[in-house]
Amino acid sequence: MLSNILSDLSLYRRLIGMQLRTQAQYKFNLLIDVGTYLFVTTMEFFGVLFYFGSFKSILGWTIGEVALLTATASFGFGLAEMIGAGIDSFDVTIRRGEFDRLLLRPVSAFIQVIGSDFRLRRLGRLTQGCIAFAIGFVLLPGFHWTPAKLLILLLGIASAAAIFVSILLMSATLCFWTVETTELFNSLTYGGREMMSYPLTIYHQLLQRFFLFVVPLAFGAYIPVCYLLDRPLPFDMPAVVAFASPLVALAFTLVAGAVWRFGVYHYQGTGS
């Protein structure tokens, strides 16, 4: 079992390496793409910051704190966009009838799907995340690091990436049934991500519970940042819950994996 995972990872590394080499051929285009994406995401970010010219805070969150939140969300989900690119374009794979070929290989179809693309241009969003982090820390002179906080932040980002990739996977699994609704689920997926750039508390109670206990995106950004800023967690959860992010992410990933396997099973039963 372990050796299977290791060989799958090594295969993934190779597939990605090949993707990167192909994309690196077009260095100029890549630079422009990254630049454009950075530009657009930065504009969005400043859009939010400008509100603070007229309003002091968002439900008590100051500009620096919001910047931190946005940065964490951008980083985690930006990573997921880079890694999950192959999953995102799964509808194209299905439409072209190329999934059969993946099943004809003696390796996991999932690894082949996730290894089929890697969007370097999403580095633009990660760069914006870095800028947001920088701005955030500048605007929070009172902030000081502890080892626990650093750990929580890193775990949070990793969890965010895992959760978002899982969402992409479940959304892609729908393609086994129909490709018509792809756009719809895309907008829901990316909408959810967008919501995580703002404090969870601005949303309706139901939505808060949804993003904590159903699709736990909040564990990727909001919860870790609350811990970093010594803020209370929603619904009076103890601060230590912040350490549970990876566990939550893992559980969610397992669910997504099961959904995916079910999708493949269905595909084999009904053909394309």
Partner: protein, 264 residues
């Protein structure tokens, strides 16, 4: 000739009718975005009831109006013309005995009508249902809004024509188009209401063409513009419309010449 352009517009309208699912998906996206920003705005206004002269009701309306109008006036991410240039189809378009700019204008006008009915209206109505956005009561506001909206829509057509037609000369046209769309979206009030811009930026934004795409009609809708201010803004819209249209036509003529001389 006018008959021809009307027919072009009608065809474009009809062609959009097929994309029902895509439209529904887009509509839900618009409504979703509107909702997210609405929550943000409500949270912001907890701190104070009025900011920069806008009440929470004003800002909510602005937000939903932006979501409703965005597909009509901007349609960033619109690359139809660029694609015909890339594929070479544009050459046959340019050889047609009609004006290149008015041809595309009619097409986009037809599409805009579709988006008005099937995207704009439903989006704003959802805003009314979900967040009680509300509508102005006075007829004169509606009339002025309609005029300004029309000017903005036509301005939008000229703008996207321009950032597409540069594909004749620029290889990286798509990237430029992406940035052009993002800048326009920002300065028109698509990300946040122009009234919240820092004063120095606001001063610049007031004189940019993008202001007329969304912000001016929106402010009229909110009843924030009256008297001298109102006519000034409408005049600026009109002037930019004329300027951009003239530039677009000049560029179209240059493109036609280039194609005729160089054969694409």
């Amino acid at each position: 000739m006018l008959r021809f352009y009307i027919e072009v517009a009608r065809t474009a309208f009809r062609r959009q009718l097929i994309y029902r699912w895509a439209n529904l998906a887009g509509l839900i996206t618009n409504a979703f975005w509107g909702a997210i920003i609405s929550y943000l705005i409500i949270a912001l206004y907890h701190a104070r009831p009025v900011a920069a002269g806008y009440s929470v009701q004003d800002t909510l309306r602005y937000t939903w109006l932006a979501q409703a109008m965005i597909m009509i006036v901007l349609t960033f991410g619109w690359y139809d013309l660029m694609l015909t240039i890339r594929s070479g189809e544009v050459i046959s378009d340019l050889s047609k005995p009609c004006d290149f700019y008015w041809y595309w204008f009619s097409r986009e006008f037809g599409r805009d009508l579709y988006y008005l009915l099937f995207r704009g209206l439903p989006t704003y109505v959802s805003g009314m249902l979900l967040f009680s956005a509300g509508i102005p009561g006075r007829l004169d506001v509606w009339l002025l809004y309609a005029v300004s909206f029309l000017l903005g829509a036509m301005l939008g057509i000229a703008y996207r024509f321009l950032y597409n037609v540069i594909a004749f000369w620029v290889v990286e046209a798509r990237a430029v188009g992406g940035m052009a769309g993002a800048i326009a979206l920002f300065f028109s009030g698509g990300y946040l209401a122009v009234v919240f811009f820092p004063p120095w930026l606001r001063a610049i934004a007031d004189w940019l063409p993008f202001n007329g795409l969304l912000n001016v009609p929106a402010e009229i809708f909110l009843g924030k513009l009256s008297g001298g201010d109102l006519w000034l803004n409408l005049a600026r819209q009109l002037v930019w419309l004329i300027v951009l249209t003239l530039v677009a036509r000049l560029v179209a003529a240059a493109a036609t010449r280039r194609v005729v001389v160089q054969g694409g």
